[in-house]
Amino acid sequence: MSTSTDATVLTGYTLVCRVDQIEVEGGVAALVDGVAVAIFRTHDGNVYAMSNYDPCSRASVLARGIVGTRGEIPYVASPMHKQAFDLRTGQCLDDAAVRVPTYDVRVTDGMVHVGGPRQET
């Protein structure tokens, strides 16, 4: 996750929406380079992006999940069968072998920009 408010030119990023179009503890789906990306906003004001595709149910639905916390971990629960995914890393919290790609995301002047898929660290 990288949230910043500096107004630099964001090369390689796609402008998708105003940040207030994403409900607090809600998500939206956006089309980024032909790929469905889910973008979430948490209660503390952070914005996260990950693939909208739920690998467990094989459906493009994650943006419609409930956002909450497990301990300190912000997560989204798949609306299909409730598997939880760490918003920061895409790691499935119910199955160590499953991970969803995450995307760089920036908020500038109240606008949300999504970058390319992040490399595994």
């Binding site: 467990c56 149910s57 094989r58 419609r64 409930i66 909450g68 629960a77 609306p79 409730k82």
Partner: protein, 848 residues
């Protein structure tokens, strides 16, 4: 051991005790060496005679111990509808009524007892019955159908059960008892008087000290002539004047019998012939007969033990009794009549509340010897084991029977205390089941594994407390927390929200929770707020609390599309509306299927298509069917008296009225209803959370049914109701469920979870015992008044509509992941390759 050395054990009688013997023989391995032949006289396998009165409510299947009709063990053969006509101890053979002769190595007599019918003139008239078998009850029910007044001769335990049955069948009921008080064996004069007051308050007529001189009538019963009293009218008469052991087989074979009847047996339950045993009510250990099931079970265990070479012995039994008669708790235990030398009595009586409690205490005041409880027997579970284990009384023994608010205290039980007297289970055995050696994690699991509480159920509250105390001591409190964010149950959360008047999740979690919530507590809070405030589920901040389907007012399908189900109340629909549904499906390319709830499912709508589909449906007069909500789904109906030649009431009209009344009510789980226009039950109403079945006089209301993985039949809550009363009871029932059930707990397990089960529901809904009735009705009235169509309101609100787009930056571009193929001329999702993971929990209801 080779097969030819196998022995044969014949059991004469397949009642509760005979069944217990076979069960014990299988469990303890006796069938490794013995083939067992069980001969039962009734056409049904063994059933729960203790719960016989509930037959009218639950039916024969529910009472059966062997619903499949056979034992799992192939070495046990069950012969039903057949009597043992005799046996020959010389040749060791039994003769059956169908002519079979079976050679035995060991014979167990478990023939039970027969009701005693006093030889008064007229005792054999038509309309005279006894109360012992399901066949007896069926005959009584048939006779009661055309009768208005009934009488029971005998005011003992069974007589009052029979009176309860007659009252349940709608008869004006008289109880005629020769002794000066009811339940003369169990309670004293003061307790008996309290019992009479309770029973008369329920509308029954009690005649004590009344000797029946004659049963009046020519061919059919017309009444009873009583000595020194006015005659009592009656078209149905039930004799319940005690039982007599069925010991004729033993008499015919020349075995010793007791002076007062019963096959004389030693403490191993062996008769005067070494290969013949007798158990249960037909047996008389030490010359004494036992008319309760617990001693019979103990005898069955003793015989199996003896046949296995064990040392078990029957040395008398606890004759304690606790039961609920006509809604009145009665318990009697130990030396209830203070027969012990120097025994003291301690009495608490409250005529206003109808409570009478007596403790019998040893002369030195140190030990509890016995007692009687009428009107409130909640202390029985603690008191009876105190008698059995002989633990010292506290300094102020009166606290044991005083109401809790007046100093009543609870007392710890010693490990050796017997908690379940029916199945002889001690506290230590319960602790073992939940402890390291055992695997039980709940009171219901303990009941299953140890049998504690599985027979009469009176010790269930104690079992529960023992288990909870154990877990508390272990530090692993039985965790009732909703989730990691709220350390309270749904019911507690419901009350917190109501008391504080919260309207926002943020306020609730900040004041009463921790963290930011999850996919469990958020939908729960959303449902509670919806139940209390009747607001739109997509309004403002509550939107993000909604579960998958509520969030889009439609049901998500495996490929991320949705299904749309418009309401079709009662399943009744005009041709014009049917055509609209067809056209909408055609225009949007939707797959259509008829649902089990008599409506039509339109599948395959992409999320961004939903508003346009709703617009068409709403314009044609449809509204949301709430197929997506934990809320009322449908009220299914048959065509009823309007069309059906058998129908006795207009089931369609009632189903429509009920569906429109309760539509949109958010509840802990989905709710389904059904209305049948006659007893043929074509609407399958008893498979619903609430089912209504028409009678000649009105409606019968059943509650707690469901289909699914653990199907349950709804049980009768109240009968022959007029429509107004029916709706009142339903308002109360549903609102009480909404308030107190756990998350995802349907009505059947919810009812089971209440202390007292269905009876408790009846107290609250029908008797209004908690005085909640008008409050629950008012809450339902608010719901009914505040109802609106969620689809229409969404269409009228641009804020809510804004979310129904495929992509925030490309609102009209369909998600490329969604594709369809054609099957049987309709669109279906393109196969995703292979099965999908269902995750850690399957999102259906919590297991029962």
């Amino acid at each position: 051991m080779s097969p030819r050395h196998r022995k044969t054990l014949v059991v004469a009688g397949h009642g509760m005790v005979g069944h217990r013997l076979v069960q014990a023989a299988i469990e303890r391995g006796l069938t490794e060496t013995h083939d067992i032949v069980v001969v039962g006289e009734e056409s049904r396998p063994a059933y729960d005679r203790v719960a016989l009165t509930s037959f009218f409510e639950v039916g024969a299947d529910e009472l059966s111990f062997l619903p499949s009709g056979e034992y799992d063990d192939p070495r046990v053969r069950l012969v039903l509808g057949t009597t043992v006509d005799g046996f020959d101890p010389e040749t060791r053979t039994v003769l059956l009524s169908d002519g079979q002769v079976i050679a035995y190595d060991e014979l167990v007599l478990a023939t039970g007892a027969a009701p005693f019918v006093p030889p008064v003139p007229g005792h054999d008239l038509d309309g005279c019955f006894v109360y012992r078998t399901i066949d007896d009850l069926e005959a009584i029910r048939d006779a009661a159908a055309t009768a208005t007044v009934g009488a029971v001769i005998g005011g003992g335990l069974l007589g009052l059960e029979a009176a309860n049955a007659l009252a349940q069948l709608g008869l004006e009921t008289h109880v005629v008892e020769m002794a000066p008080r009811l339940m003369a064996v169990q309670v004293d004069d003061a307790g008996g008087a309290m019992l009479v007051r309770h029973i008369e308050k329920l509308g029954l007529h009690v005649h004590t000290g009344a000797r029946t001189e004659q049963v009046l009538g020519e061919e059919r019963v017309e009444g009873l002539a009583l000595a020194g009293e006015e005659p009592v009218p009656a078209e149905v008469v039930v004799f319940s004047a005690g039982i007599r052991p069925r010991d004729q087989l033993a008499r015919d074979a020349g075995l010793d019998v007791a002076e007062r009847g019963g096959v004389l047996v030693d403490e191993r339950c062996r008769t005067s012939d070494e290969h013949v045993w007798a158990i249960g009510e037909c047996a008389a250990p030490d010359g004494r007969m036992y008319g309760l099931v617990a001693p019979g079970y103990a005898m069955a265990e003793v015989v199996v033990d003896a046949l296995l070479g064990g040392p078990g012995a029957f040395t008398g039994a606890d004759m304690s009794t606790k039961l609920k008669l006509l809604g009145v708790d009665v318990a009697s235990f130990g030396d209830a009549f203070a027969a012990t030398d120097g025994a003291l009595e301690l009495v608490y009586a409250d005529a206003v509340q109808g409570v009478y409690k007596k403790l019998v205490i040893s002369a030195d005041g140190r030990q509890l010897l016995g007692g009687i409880l009428v009107g409130d027997a909640s202390a029985y579970g603690v008191l009876r084991p105190m008698v059995a284990s002989g633990i010292a009384l506290p300094d102020n023994p009166e606290e044991l029977i005083l109401p809790v608010g007046r100093g009543g205290a609870e007392i710890g039980l010693p490990d050796e205390a017997q908690v379940c007297s029916c199945n002889d289970v001690t506290k230590a055995q319960i602790l073992e089941a939940v402890g390291e050696g055992g695997a039980c994690d709940s009171p219901s699991c303990v009941t299953k594994c140890t049998k504690a509480g599985s027979t009469c159920g009176s010790c269930k509250p104690v079992v529960k407390r023992v288990v909870e105390e154990f877990f508390a001591a272990q530090g692993k409190v039985v965790d009732k927390s909703l989730c990691e964010h709220f350390a309270m149950t749904r019911q507690e959360l419901f009350d917190v929200v109501a008391v504080h008047g919260y309207t926002r999740f943020d306020d609730i979690i900040e004041a009463h929770g921790r963290g930011r919530g999850c996919d469990i507590c958020k939908p729960t809070v959303a449902s509670i707020l919806a139940s209390q405030l009747n607001g739109h589920v997509l309004e403002g901040p509550t939107r993000t609390l909604q579960d998958t389907n509520d969030a889009y007012l439609a049901n998500i399908q495996r490929n991320g599309t949705y299904s749309v189900v418009p309401r079709i109340p009662g399943g009744e629909i005009t041709p014009e509306k049917l055509i609209v549904i067809g056209q909408v499906a055609q225009d949007f390319g939707l797959y259509t299927k008829i649902t089990g709830g008599q409506r039509i499912d339109l599948l395959g709508a992409r999320m961004e298509q939903l508003p346009a589909i709703w617009r068409r449906l709403v314009d044609a007069g449809f509204e949301s069917g709430h197929a997506y909500g934990k809320s009322l789904r449908t009220v299914k109906s048959c065509v009823g008296s309007t069309w059906c030649r058998y129908g006795v009431q207009d089931s369609v009209q009632l189903a429509i009225d009920l569906e429109l009344r309760y539509r949109g009510l958010r509840s802990p789980h989905k709710l389904k209803g059904g209305v049948s226009g006659c007893a043929r039950e074509c609407a399958e109403a008893r498979g619903k959370d609430f089912g209504v079945i028409a009678t000649e006089k009105g409606w019968n209301l059943y509650v707690g049914g469901n289909g699914g993985a653990t199907p349950a039949h709804a049980r009768l809550l109240a009968g022959d109701l007029d429509t107004e009363t029916l709706v009142r009871y339903l308002d109360r029932f549903l609102m009480y469920y909404v308030r107190t059930a756990d998350r995802l707990q349907r009505t059947a397990p919810w009812i089971d979870s209440l202390d007292g089960g269905l009876e408790r529901v009846r107290e609250i809904v029908v008797d209004d015992a908690l005085g909640l009735g008008s409050e629950l009705e008012a809450a339902m009235a608010r719901h009914v008044d505040g109802y609106f169509d969620e689809w229409k309101e969404t269409l009228d609100d641009p804020d809510k509509l804004a979310r129904f787009v495929s992509f925030v930056n490309a609102p009209d571009t369909p998600d490329p992941h969604i594709s369809f193929r054609s099957e049987r001329e309709q669109a279906v999702p393109e196969d995703s390759s292979g099965p999908v993971s269902l995750g850690t929990t399957i999102p259906v209801g919590a297991p029962r």
